[in-house]
């Protein structure tokens, strides 16, 4: 009887041990958790109030809002500007005449003229930067300068001759851009139409005849400067990793989604370019 009792007791204790193993939960009791919840909520409320007050001015209302400082854009543009001294290339075409004058000696008329025959010139983009963003207008400064040679020919007092004088180009203007809403991953800046002046200076010497040629060639900003695309650092497509549907060596497989931008808006103010958009992911 005693032996049986011992056996049963041993079994009972062992069973309790197993039950204890299986049911032992390290999680706190309901009361402990409830106390923690009350404490954390109190602390959270205080912290949330402080943070909410400090972040009241943060933008909201779209899936994505990006803000780019003019300084950052200028950093990128500076790299383009400083890349080389031959940013702009000019091919001179025949210009006949570039300059001419009618003369008369003892009743005999003749024409002195100078033609441009050909020539090539590289010009340095010395400066292209955004000076300020105000009310969706972006003011920019552009400066280009270059010196080269051009082949000219002409006739002076009836004698034909040719020469290769130096030609100098210079442009220093303020131009403007307007930001346009683009439902894409770029922000487009369109130049505001304006006439800028490319200052041209040639000193031509033909047979001792000095012809100072100075002309301001009018150019349209819309011709001279193409729209500038400011990258948003967003991607127009994205490859999402998802679990591999078949068992194998690869745990993940990838699906491509295209970003569809909608309700986009761009605002340029206080030297910040702000872009807002809602984004949907579309299948291939």
């Amino acid at each position: 009887m005693k032996a049986t009792l011992v056996k049963h007791s041993s079994f009972f204790l062992l069973s309790l041990f197993v039950m204890g193993c299986g049911s032992s939960m390290d999680i706190p009791s309901k009361e402990e958790s409830q106390a923690n919840i009350a404490q954390y909520k109190l602390q959270l409320d205080t912290l949330d109030a402080v943070i909410t007050e400090k972040t009241a001015g943060l933008p909201k209302g779209h899936d994505l809002i990006s803000r780019t400082r003019s300084l950052a854009i200028n950093t990128l543009l500076a790299r383009v500007v400083n890349r080389s001294l031959a940013d702009i290339h000019i091919d001179f075409l025949a210009t006949r005449p570039l300059w001419k004058e009618e003369k008369s000696v003892m009743g005999i008329g003749y024409t002195n003229y100078v033609d441009v025959d050909t020539g090539k010139l590289d010009i340095d983009l010395k400066k292209f930067s955004f000076s300020n963003f105000t009310n969706n207008i972006i003011n920019a400064e552009i400066e280009i300068e270059g010196t080269g040679t051009v082949k000219v020919s002409g006739t002076y007092t009836g004698v034909s001759t040719s020469s290769s004088p130096q030609i100098h180009f210079y442009l220093d203007e303020q131009i403007q851009f307007v930001v346009t809403t683009a439902d894409s991953d770029f922000i487009r800046l369109n130049p505001v139409p304006k006439t800028v002046l490319l200052k041209t200076k040639i000193t031509i010497n033909l047979l001792g005849w000095n012809i100072p040629y100075y002309k301001e060639i009018p150019l349209q900003t819309t011709d001279l400067v193409k729209p500038v695309f400011i990258p948003s650092a967003l991607r127009s497509e994205i490859v999402f990793p998802i679990p591999a549907s078949q068992y194998g060596d690869q745990r993940l497989e990838f699906v491509k989604r295209y970003l569809r931008f909608n309700k986009s808006a761009v605002r340029a103010n206080d030297n910040v370019l702000e872009y807002r958009s809602n984004i949907d992911f579309e299948k291939e």
């Binding site: 069973s15 958790s33 954390y40 912290l47 809002i65 950052a72 383009v80 025949a94 060639i217 990258p231």
Partner: protein, 327 residues
Amino acid sequence: MNIQTTKTVSTFLQSWNVLRFLFIENIKKKIGYVAHGAVIKPSFDALVQKTDSLVQDEHRRALHQRIYAKRNIIYQMAVAICLLGFGISLQGCFILRPFAGANIDIEQLQKAREAKVLEIRRDGAKRLSQRLTKGDSISNADLSFYFSEALLNKAASQLDSTTGWLDSLTSYSIRNIRVKLYHGSAIATISLAAFNHEYDVDVNLLMDCILAFKIDSGKFFATLEPFNVVPNVKASGMIASLEGIIQDIVTMKLSTLSDNLPPIQFPVDFNNQFPVQGNSVQVRTGMNMNITTSAQTLKYFLVLKEVLIFKEKLFLAMNVKKVGVGK
């Protein structure tokens, strides 16, 4: 019968305890798993550290070998349980309960889960408050992004209804992922089902995960780091006594789930390039000439300054680090 029964029970209990302490308890210690109920982590850092060590393939292979080596023992034990169940229950010793995990207090679990979520939120809010008080202005960055909670959920929902594999016999299906952004913390709740094809066992899981934001190869993404796991076993055609054991086996495999979960990708690229358009202007005023500029590609690299999480929005601050030009 008693002698035979006691011997069998003793053998079973010894085997079971060896089994438990050999791998089940060991695994639980490693990942902070708590029997049949929830993973309530003491700290997130500890989870990451422990999970990292656990997920090594070598360890996992060894673990699987040990699990399958013990499978026969489990079957033997199941038979023993069936034979002994009736006699034992007559003696008032309900040995099946702990294995089946039927004594979980759901309310206790829910409270613990809620407390853990709040603790993480509190810690995050504390860090954010300190950052806003002491750091420089958050607008002091070349480029800053605000991602809405809605966008994060659109990205996360790409994983909805996808199926993956923990091993050749255990698949999992992500039902849905929902992300909530609080001041200082981002928490994703994943509704997931794991299915063990060998035992025909479903484990439905609700996982609370911290979103950890990372950059790799110029891409920005969020990884999911579970800190609360609430499994709920549904076995079909199995005796109740096996549920707990199988649940343990399945949940052990689930312990490596964070290693399997795909990251949530963001549409931000830190290695960027954009074209600078070429141009050609024909001048026919004064002097005939063609002015041309060649097309260029501007390449730039952004460096992440900081990531801050606010209520319903994620903030990224970046600075331009390198700029180059190519043709």
